[in-house]
Amino acid sequence: MTTTNTSSASVPSGPASSAPGDSSPATPRKRTRRLKPGRILAWVVMVVILLITLLPFYWILRTALSTNPSLLSNPASLTPPEFTTGAFQRVLGMQSTEDALAEGGSGSALNFWRYLLNSVMVATLVTVCQVLFSAMAAYAFSRLRWRGRDKVFALFLAGLMVPTVFTLLPNFVLIQQLGLIDTVLGIALPTMFMTPFAVFFLRQFFLGIPMEIEEAARLDGSSRIGTFFRVILPMAGAPIATLSILTYMTAWNDYFWPLMVSYTDSSRVLTVALGVFRAQSPQSGTDWAGLMAASLIAALPMFLLFLAFARRIVNSIGFSGIK
């Protein structure tokens, strides 16, 4: 069992992956399913952990469906103290200023749809380009033979060791010089071409595709490039989908880089908008209902993605280096 691999080492938020899948886990299951006290205790602990994990989400929903004044007078009520969908309407710009003020909102319009669109554009740009380009590179590193291949690959691997924090400031200068400050492209660009992790991850997978399949395609007159798009990519559908989801999530949830690059509505993404929303509290105090509604809407696409691909995402979390 080899465990040393640089792969996951410097990917703080980007999950390491490669699915061991549901394939025959080596769990030593008790043959007897008697409910021993230890087992009961274990379940109790598990349930407590689940509650800690999930209750905050209920609290977001409960808060988002209330008016602000009622929240302040009933801070511990388990259900929305004064039920309304006003906060959602407010966030989405569908509430009149008077109603917004009455419910404790700031009354100033929040360009939420714009932020949503920006987030979608950034995450989509990053995901599509990064996965495509990384897959191409991974293919070159795994299936093509060329001079200096291993050296170049080593360079890519070294890239894994550079923490994102260090590239942020110089990349900002670069984006500034490219005139891309405060643009969607400026936010997406640095991660659009590749991440060392994505290249490494896909290379590992491509290595496992039998040569014969590619050879057969090439025999049919397909070029290398044709083979890549028509044979290799479809065969690698599963890991590419996994990588795409993870990349999308990372791009969607990123805050620091967009905060540096984006300043106005034209490029502001949801995470940054939420921070601004928090800072822009109305005179009556923070608009918690609106903030929670906005948080929920900002997280919703990720929840939907998760619902659709839960099994894949869950199973994808593992060690690419461990075989």
């Binding site: 891309l180 400050i181 492209l185 300043y263 106005t264 822009q280 509290s281 105090g285 923070t286």
Partner: protein, 470 residues
């Protein structure tokens, strides 16, 4: 051979696909680029942060457009925090405004970075006369290099805002509140009044036996931001001045801060001590972002000190009347008030500096300033317009002499202007938070940071000497 061409064809198709993708991305982001650079020379981009003032300045802009049909003014309003971020980005990316409202705490840094146009070098603004404006305003906006970087728009000073219901309940008249004195030893009549206006959950007043300082329903004095930037502008700055504290060695462009002055330490220990006694909120009890405005408006406090620019906000109170009273008299016998004011600045990369300067000159003219006065949102910078604001505020029930008397009596003092404002703030803001939150002797905290602050200026001087030595 055939395969090769096939590959090449594919490749080029792929390349063009990539190119299309890239172009698409550019187009997508294109919506983020500012439009109409070509016609920019006739459009003046004007930025401001205050929503209350927006209508008045919009009116001024309309007047300007009428008189100068060749120009077109485009006003953008953004909230305070966002405003400075956007401005920074604007300077970095060249997407900033042509003209924007500037703040005294910010402009020295911008002047140092050379992103502002000197107004004394523009035809339209070169001849603005200091005598037309409130005393000291022109000086406030003159940089250490002697150039003028702002055309004054307004001035402000600090006074007490009170909840008249609470005042009546406590049997304190507005006149009494406006003629109190304080001292760092026992707080004087000011502390007595604040204690009396404090009421705990059981209805016991702060100066009565059995007062429960841990369960207070109404605090006598509100506080949300312990530092108010570097000088406690709306908080303790006026008190400290009345105890004889000068922030810096020179009113403008000083190179030495006096945070190590015992007069300041005594003032702060007394002031923040009010929160130990339960007369003022503790740190973190209220959300700092919400400000003292929401503390007063929500009925959580009886009195707050705040700036004249907040009068329109306080005037919107529906449940009770808000009034104003003069800051108390300090140990040195004066009742001072911190003064400041904002101004219009022109960005160094303004598309059409000439047009920008003309617009700025108009905004500082009597024509526009009287519009501002009529709106009753701030004290206009021009002395010939300020009376109208006073009338309007008086009609609304505010005692404007609370703001103007210190100025007329010469007890008002300007917020100091120095270099390294952001660096100083980086040291002082945590320090004042610490003093309020953890309540150590303020001398302990401030004596620690004062040398670090003054080192900033010593380093400057050394660099200068080294330069001139060469």
């Amino acid at each position: 051979m055939t395969r090769k061409t096939f590959t090449r064809a594919r490749r080029s198709r792929l390349l063009s696909a990539t190119a299309v993708l890239a172009v698409g991305a550019l187009a997508l982001s294109g919506c983020g680029q500012r439009e109409g650079d070509s016609e920019a020379s006739s459009t003046i981009d004007y930025w401001l942060w205050d929503t209350q003032q927006l209508p008045a300045y919009q009116q001024c802009a309309d007047l300007f457009e009428q008189q100068h049909p060749e120009y077109n003014v485009n006003i953008t309003q953004t909230g305070w925090d966002d405003y400075w971020q956007r401005l920074t980005a604007g300077f970095l990316a060249g997407t900033g405004p042509d003209v924007f409202i500037n703040h005294p705490s910010r402009y020295p840094q911008y002047a140092d970075l050379e992103v502002l146009l000197p107004l004394d070098e523009q035809d339209a603004t070169a001849n603005q006369q200091a005598s037309d404006y409130q005393d000291g305003l022109m000086e406030l906006w003159t940089g250490s290099d002697g150039h003028r970087y702002g055309s004054p728009k307004d001035w402000d000073s600090i006074a007490l805002f009170y909840n008249s219901d609470y005042l009546a309940d406590g049997g304190v008249s507005p006149e009494e509140l406006g003629s109190l004195e304080w001292n760092p030893e026992d707080g004087g009549s000011f502390e007595a009044a604040i204690a009396h206006l404090t009421v705990d959950d059981n209805g016991v007043r702060g100066d009565e036996p059995g007062f429960d300082k841990d369960n207070v329903a109404v605090y006598g004095l509100g506080l949300s931001d312990p530092g108010g930037g570097n000088t406690g502008q709306g908080q303790w700055g006026s008190f400290a001045n009345g105890a004889g504290w000068e922030v810096t060695d020179e009113p403008f462009w000083g190179t030495e801060y006096n945070y190590d002055d015992p007069a300041l330490h005594e003032t702060l220990d007394w002031y923040f001590g009010l929160s130990d006694k339960g007369y003022m909120p503790k740190y973190g009890q209220f959300n700092q972002d919400d400000g003292t405005l929401s503390q007063l408006m929500s009925g959580s406090v009886a009195v707050v000190s705040d700036g004249s620019w907040m009068v329109p906000a306080y005037s919107s109170s529906e449940n009770f009347e808000v009034g104003t009273a003069r800051m108390p008299t300090g140990p040195d016998g004066t009742a001072p008030s911190t003064m400041s004011g904002v101004a219009d600045s022109i960005s160094a990369d303004a598309d059409n500096p000439e047009a920008a300067a003309e617009f700025v000159a108009f905004m500082g003219s009597q024509e526009c300033q009287s519009v501002v006065a009529e709106a009753g949102v701030v004290f206009p910078a021009r002395t010939d317009s300020v009376e109208r604001t006073e009338e309007i505020w008086t009609e609304q029930g505010f005692d404007t002499s609370a703001f103007t008397d210190p100025v007329e009596e010469g007890d008002a003092f300007f917020l100091p202007i120095t270099s390294h404002g952001a660096d100083v703030a980086a040291l002082t803001i945590p320090a004042f938070q610490e003093i309020w939150a953890d309540r150590p002797p303020s001398a302990e905290v401030l004596d620690r940071i004062n040398p670090a602050i003054n080192d900033l200026f010593i380093a400057d001087k050394e660099a200068e000497d080294a330069d001139s030595g060469n």
